[in-house]
Symmetry: C2
Subunit: 454 residues, 2 copies
């Protein structure tokens, strides 16, 4: 397969485009909306008598790389580089609020600066103030970089827009699209750069079949810069930045794996997979019966905080709970996590109960002082079964403190490494479901997650 | 305790001697028997017209270091150094058989040469032919060394015999006496040398409190020789030999530990511990209930072979079964072994059953060739639950082959590392008892073993 890799059948790409390329009606409608909003902002700027301030469409809509059906617009209000921050924040919001007066609904959001999200004629519009800096290496706030990305892509993507659409849909279909900390996959800008670099979807996928961690792509030959992420794509507009910084090793691996599978048997299914249906109660019970393992779910209310703050905390908890359990001799062989109104940490164990007796290793007999301390500590203890010597070292058989996993978690969850917001909600309460008790979680999105996890 | 170590109360040593030092009647009786047997052998030598052949008493009886109540006599028939082996074996047996005519019963035994064990006037007598070599470094068979040991001890032990008796009884009481491969403790010769080297039981025990592996005692300053056992005592009669070669690290540790305990609270109990009583059925059930672990016993007929051949095989099996179980994800935290008519390997596990699902780690996605092989192997398998990517590597969830420990052992015991004789008997059959089923083993000696193990 590797040596004589065939090209991707033309009709597959054509069929994908038929479904994901915005029609001219869709395009016209979008640009009408964009024109209206930009004019609206600029007229407000004039009214407020602000100098050097102007609106600009950025993001995939600006580059002709948006997928049909997506209705996201990013409109930036650029202020002169030396504008005072307070001035930018004040007038940025003031202008955006003016626009919002005509919106179906809107709300203020907070990133580095406040901005406004609004719903307008069916579009989800972000109106974001930023500084118009000289170079992407000298940004004053994170969003200042976006206009540079926009410029670079627009100048280089001509004629390759369809390839970007196909790639984005492929990444979407296989579940690796999105650079938010929930997904840790590929951002839109990353996808665009990959197409610019490799020249086509086909070439990119052929290359991806042989990727491995340590890959570095440096389109502008900026020269080596130090990044330790699995994949490094030097930002052509800012040599110090890795565009792939958010990409997890697993999403990278999944992209590589699926690229190979796609060449093995190309199909539209990669782009448009069958929708996952929620697992019903009898399916859950059947799977539990077949696996015959011990499944534990830790459930708590999802804290009210943005996803990029929440998900790292959720994943941190997903990896710290097994450490707690393994320190108490429970063997966790699989974990999962999901969040809706409630958050769920899932654990699959070899067994959920352990004997009352627990073997505890003491010092070698030869370390006289430690040996004396150890012996006198346990000599008259009521909580040991026995003390003996094994391989030249003392061993006591103690009474195990936690013989079932539920009690262990209930008593110790707060000692795990918990993020600030999750800690706060867990302190207020959490509950533990075992095995078929997980059927009590009815959320269909959780049930869909279960179909893949269980 | 360490700094101001008190001396051992005089009355304890006196009380021990009262019980273990042979009375003059006992001594007279023993020497009458020895004289009779030696004369008998020598007269047979004369009758057979053998030149340079003579009988000699060796062992603790010859050195005045035998414990009251023991009735073991070792009488060697020494042949000239250049005797043909066949000649030695032929006449050695011929002479011994003549003596055996008067025995209550007797049998031929086989070590390097054949010899005869017999019961005579209540004594267990071994009559052993050997070569009278020039030096212990030039022995022709292992037993040729014994007369040299005998000579060395007799020349150096004068006045210290009682200290040897006390030490032997101490070692006996704490369970470290005996250098056979069953016990792997201290031999009588080793005990005698320790007393000669340290001058008294008290000095020896004081020193032992601070022993650690790597100890070397070289009484004759033979100079360093290469031994890697935990304890090295260079044989004063043969610089190439470690008298402590058979001593296991655990028996060494137990001697050190008990020496310390003895100084902490000296008592006759170390020398004459309470006899261990067999565990009865309700005690077994009670202990199993309290521990709430999974106990498994593998039972098979003990092969008909000498202990020094059998026990290493039993211990080998005791350590190889846990490896088998751990390879299949069972956690063994304690093992034991015992042998009477039946042999028993005991295992204590965290759990005796495991889930149907078993996680199997595959290659990293980046190792393209291995990844392809792995995927194609499991792609259409009916025996997997799922395949996914974790930390950049493939994982399959397979159907576990052995979900209970009994089936695992039944199907795979013969794949363990088994000694020749145990293999033969295990091939003919073995059975597995779980938890309270071990009550089916009624042998009181096993039940005594259980009292310490369970």
């Amino acid at each position: 397969m590797n040596e004589n890799m065939s090209n991707i059948p033309k009709n597959i790409k054509k069929d994908v485009l038929t479904r994901v390329k915005p029609t001219s009606d869709e395009q016209k409608h979008l640009f009408d909306v964009v024109d209206y909003l930009i004019k609206k902002i600029n007229s407000n700027v004039s009214e407020m008598d602000l100098s050097g301030v102007s609106a600009q469409l950025v993001g995939s809509a600006a580059r002709g790389t948006w997928l049909s059906g997506t209705h996201d617009l990013d409109i930036f209000i650029l202020f002169p580089e030396n504008t005072d921050v307070k001035y930018l924040e004040y007038y940025g919001l003031k202008i955006a609020r003016k626009v919002a007066e005509e919106a179906e609904n809107w709300q203020e959001q907070y990133a580095e600066h406040p901005y406004i999200s609004l719903k307008f004629r069916g579009y989800d519009v972000d109106i974001v103030p930023c500084f118009r800096v000289q170079s992407a290496s000298n940004i004053r706030s994170a969003v200042d970089r976006t206009p540079f990305h926009n410029k670079f892509v627009k100048e280089n993507i001509k004629g390759l827009e369809d390839e970007v659409l196909i790639l984005k849909q492929f990444m979407h279909g296989i579940g690796v699209y999105g650079s938010e900390l929930k997904t840790r996959g590929f951002s839109g800008y990353f996808a665009e750069l990959l197409i610019i670099h490799f020249g086509s979807f086909d070439n990119l996928l052929k290359s991806a079949c042989n990727w491995s961690p340590g890959m570095v792509i440096d389109m502008m030959n900026h020269g080596q810069s130090e990044h330790d992420e699995p994949f490094v794509m030097i930002d052509p507009t800012d040599p110090g930045r890795n565009v792939a910084a958010a990409l997890s090793i697993n999403k990278l691996a999944e992209f590589v794996d699926k690229s190979r599978s796609f060449f093995e048997s190309p199909s539209l299914d990669f782009f448009f997979p069958e929708p996952i249906t929620p697992l019903n109660d009898s399916e859950i019970n059947n799977r539990l019966y077949l696996r015959n393992s011990s499944v534990v779910a830790i459930v708590f209310k999802t804290p009210d905080v943005v996803e990029d703050v929440f998900y790292p905390q959720l994943y941190k908890l997903e990896s710290s709970v097994p450490t707690l359990l393994e320190n108490h001799e429970f063997t966790v062989f699989s974990t999962g996590s999901w969040a809706g109104d409630y958050s769920v940490i899932l654990l699959e164990l070899l067994t959920s109960t352990l004997p009352n007796v627990k073997k505890h290793q003491g010092p070698p007999v030869w370390i006289h002082k430690h040996a004396d301390n150890f012996k006198s500590k346990y000599k008259n203890s009521d909580y040991i079964f026995s003390m003996y010597i094994e391989n030249g070292a003392y061993v006591v058989e103690k009474i195990r403190k936690y013989t079932d996993v539920k009690t262990l978690i209930e008593s110790n969850l707060l000692t795990c490494s918990l993020g600030k917001h999750i800690k706060k909600t867990v302190e207020k309460g959490f509950f533990i479901l075992e095995n078929d008790e997980i059927c009590r979680i009815k959320d269909p999105e959780f049930r869909k997650y279960l179909r893949r996890w269980l």
